[in-house]
């Protein structure tokens, strides 16, 4: 069962990478990996969220050719935070799902921008980067409606 789960994750990850590298909307590439990290977080405990998020980030760092650690840190934190928020006070509703996905996408994008600026080079103007991150957040918002926790601590 664990092996199956591993392959499902692997397949999802590959699919996400392929989609992410294939499509751009108005010159804005998608940020779907943050959704995986978010899902890993709300599905399990903080440490699992942190670990899976970090692994996703590690792979993304490798594949994007950036310094290893940037995506690893941001995705790891997203995984941790989503689990933390969900386990403490987050009761899932479609609206909260949407809002939290937007929020996490913004946090992820800003973290990556900041880490790149500090450790590598500034990828773009802050205003441009902000617009791009906002667009990514808006695009991910749609998925926020559909990504639900498994144990259904859902408000009805």
């Amino acid at each position: 069962m664990r092996l199956l789960r591993f392959f499902v994750w692997l397949f999802s990850l590959i699919l996400v990478f392929v989609i992410q590298s294939s499509f751009t909307i108005y010159n804005t590439s998608l940020n779907l990996t943050v959704l995986l990290a978010y899902y890993a977080g709300i599905k399990g405990k903080e440490m699992i969220g942190l670990f899976i998020g970090a692994m996703i980030g590690f792979l993304e760092d490798n594949l994007s050719g950036s310094l290893v650690g940037i995506n690893m840190l941001s995705k790891g934190l997203i995984g941790y935070m989503s689990a933390f928020v969900y386990n403490r006070f987050f009761i899932w509703t479609p609206l909260f799902g949407v809002v939290i996905v937007i929020l996490f996408t913004l946090i992820d994008g800003l973290l990556i921008y900041t880490l790149n600026s500090v450790f590598s080079k500034t990828p773009a103007d802050l205003s441009v980067a902000f617009v791009v991150i906002m667009v990514q957040g808006m695009l991910n918002a749609i998925f926020g409606y559909f990504i639900k926790p498994v144990d259904m601590k859902i408000y009805k």
Partner: protein
Amino acid sequence: MPSKRFFLYLFILFNIVILTYQSSKGLNFNLAFLNNIFSSIYKAKTAVVDFIHSPIRKIYIIEKENERLKTEVERLLQLEQKYLEAIQENKSLKGLLSIKEKERRYVTSAHVIGRNMGQWNNVLVLDKGLSDGVSKDMVAINERGLAGKITEVYGSYSNLLLVTDINFSVSVRLQESRTEGVVSGTGFRKCKLKYIPSEVEVKNGEIVVTSGLDRLFPQGIPVGYVSRVNKYVGLFQDIDVVPFVDNRKLEFVAIIKQ
């Protein structure tokens, strides 16, 4: 057992350390084999996408090419028409030029600019008039033969009465039998050759030329050929003559003096 927060801080610290290290040493810890694996996956995905897209793209390209070729064909057809027009015009003008060289009575050449081709009024409008030396009763010919005569002249244009007009008559001679007669227009494509006695042998296809006896048309201009002969109608034969000059195709004429 260390708390979750401890692991979190450790994780953050670890990342900052490796980032700082990579940043300062100019290295990164990218694993090449991951890129290789992903590039294989990406190639497979591209192959699948191409497999699906390729026929659609081909149809699209063929459609575009088809549209382009249609436009090209239209353009070439227009060009061909222009060339054919130029060739025809050149042919007509060459004919006129030869008339100009041969004919001492040459006045000018004129272009047909209007047609008034009702059933009973076979008149063409020419672009030459008084200012070009054209006057009433002058003769219009082309390289084939007699076209008609000028009936009205204005400042810069004139009217040409065609051979086929019902009001048109010209004194003629049959080229072989040398018999004289008169060709009159009928309002149709064919003209009538009048006053040819019944005993004269007239063959189909015999050429009719102007005789000059009417003092209106110079002698020897081809008018047409005999297309039908009916001997047994009385004192004179009933003969149809088809003019050499086809009114429908007439574009240029040379105007000559009487």
